[in-house]
Amino acid sequence: MSRVADVIAAKRAAGGEVLVGYLPIGFPDLDASVEAAVALIENGVDVLEFGIPYSDPVMDGPVIQAATTAALANGFKLRHAFEAVRRVTERVDAPVLLMTYWNPVLQYGVDRFADDLAAAGGAGLITPDLIPDEAGDWLAASDRTGLDRVFLAAPTSSDERLRRAIELSRGFVYAVSTMGITGARADLDVAARTLVGRLRDAGAESVCVGIGVSTPEQVREINGYADGAIVGSALVKSLADGGPSAAGALAASLSHGPSGH
């Protein structure tokens, strides 16, 4: 039913670690972001989280803000997102989710956005500022098109809200490791482990942990209790510093080798 959930489950069943990698579309430019995304996937990223640059990214820390601001300054347009998804999915096989704040989808038209994403070969959406309570149009559009929809779960979410996030998410539930915005952290909060435990108790079958994950050790540790680890800022920083090949090399290291384990 879900391409993302199937990929995660298959990798887990084979005893592997799951790595979800984030990059913004259009950074440093459209071509390079596509190259970098392909490099990530060829170096062990199992699911790509492709971010749509947005003018007011309240969940993002300085590294991703700087990248998405640069992408917008370089002329990123929403139509480039579908183009980027198509170009990546034509070359490599991993599922590609778009990570987007809600207003761009709203302005494009929720149904039109879903149709164009599906046509481009995209797997679905991660929506950091759209909670299930406000997601009626997106629930309908994703059901109609079969796209995955990833909602977030936070350490402060009530049990009732966790159940709702699990029930409505398709692909995985995005467990926010710690209270805060994106950016590498040396220590992951014990909150992550607790939250994943609560999600499991509530019946979650596919949970990935993100926010603050940046090292191979963290990826391994998270894969010990969750279904996958999400890395963003560290990959963006390596892309900014060393281009697509550096991002690919970091992905290889995070996934413990070009093909994982």
Partner: protein, 404 residues
């Protein structure tokens, strides 16, 4: 249902809670605490006492006949929120939210500020209640409102200049929300206007509606009848909703919000959100906003830092959509002309924000004629704007001949 009884989370198609999941528990907690507080006589009494003994409520009204000669001869009456402690209406809301913060047991408050009025009010309340205080302010605004930055620091607040995006109010809100996501357990975000996710639009309105409740009674007492029109400046919209709210169900009273028209609402440089924007989601609510075809927020422009915001509160969007209130743009030049006029005719120097309402009142007076009574919310005083006004009018030049 009476329009006054409208509550969040939705005002017609507008409002809601478009926030990261990490903030939901915090806004639920505030909504719950506020629902209890608004029915709690102790809370209401404490708030009223703070108004009476600290911030200076009720604020007076002042009729301004010499100014009114320039407004078609209509009667013009000012609601003097500029006389509140800290110099603007912002203190009304801040004292309410600070009391709520105390109830929630939180010890740290954060706030965004544009002109610095909300930041000063928040820093003031933090000093009064012994709370830690961090104020986020766009770097552009820290420069044009340097006096308020010094006031906040003197009051013990940390002021963080925000260097991202347009470096104005919207980016200060982004940065404050990032802080809040990371520190939500210890921290209350004292939001300054009637925008943002539920419950802020409703709660901030409730803390500001005393402006209109007082003014309605005061105008009735002075003139024996309700005003013909009520005028207020609209950025996020808190002073406007504050003075509008008591009149929402008085069908004879026309309500006018004046948005920052900047260099002209037909130029790219303005902050006339309802006039020129279209519905979208920003900072947690669905409302009108200035945006491009991709939904990217467009940077606003206004000479007034407090109105320089590309969004607007959802209740205003709703009042506009149902036709209960009208929203018009006022240019930088018209606002500065009105600022000078009130200063010279009445000896009252208004904030540049409030000067937009005064310029609007001049326009309305000329339309409505001498039989009309126009109530204007003088939301703040102009002391903070002397740098901008001094440059605009050439007051720092010894020859200062350009003012007239």
């Amino acid at each position: 249902m009476a329009l006054r009884d409208q509550t969040g989370p939705y005002f017609g198609d507008f409002g809601g809670r478009f926030v990261p999941e990490s903030l939901v528990q915090a806004i639920d907690e505030i909504a719950e605490a506020y629902d209890l507080a608004k029915l709690d006589p102790t809370f209401q009494h404490e708030l009223a006492e703070l108004g009476r003994t600290y911030s200076g409520r009720p604020s007076i009204i002042t009729e301004v006949p010499r100014f009114a000669e320039h407004a078609g001869g209509a009667r013009v009456i000012l609601k003097r929120e500029d006389l509140n402690h800290t110099g603007s209406h912002k203190i009304n809301n801040v004292l309410g939210q600070a009391l709520l913060t105390k109830r929630l047991g939180k010890t740290r408050v954060i706030a965004e500020t544009g002109a610095g009025q909300h930041g000063v009010a928040t820093a003031t309340a933090a000093a009064l209640f012994g709370m830690d205080c961090v104020i986020y302010m766009g770097e552009v605004d820290t420069e044009r409102q340097a006096l308020n930055v010094a006031r906040m620091r003197l009051l013990g607040a940390e002021v963080i200049p925000v260097k991202s995006g347009s470096r104005t109010l919207k980016d200060a809100i982004n940065e404050a929300m990032r802080d809040w996501v990371a520190n939500v357990e210890s921290t209350m975000y004292i939001f300054g206007t009637v925008a943002g996710p539920h419950p802020f639009p409703e709660m901030v309105r409730d803390f500001q509606k005393i402006i209109g409740e007082e003014a309605r009674a005061q105008v009735l007492e002075l003139t024996g009848e309700l005003p013909t029109a009520v005028a207020a400046a609209v950025g996020g919209g808190s002073n406007a909703i504050g003075i509008f709210h008591a009149f929402l169900d008085d069908p004879t009273v026309a309500l006018y919000g004046f948005e920052a028209g900047g260099e002209g609402a037909d130029t790219p440089r303005h902050a006339a959100t309802i006039t020129k924007g279209r519905p979208g989601v920003l900072h947690g609510a669905r409302s009108y906003l200035l945006q491009d075809e991709d939904g990217q927020t467009i940077e606003s422009h206004s000479i007034s830092a407090g109105l320089d915001y590309p969004g607007v509160g959802p209740e205003h969007a709703w009042l506009s959509a149902i036709g209960r209130a009208s929203y018009r743009p006022v240019t930088d030049t018209a606002a500065m002309d009105a600022l000078l006029l009130l200063s010279r005719t009445e000896g009252i120097i208004p904030a540049i924000e409030s000067a937009h309402a005064l310029a609007g009142a001049i326009e309305l007076g000329r339309e409505l004629g001498p039989d009309a009574t126009i109530l204007v919310n003088l939301s703040g005083r102009g002391d903070k704007d002397m740098e901008t006004a001094g440059t605009w009018f050439g007051l720092f030049d010894e020859q200062n001949g350009t003012a007239e």
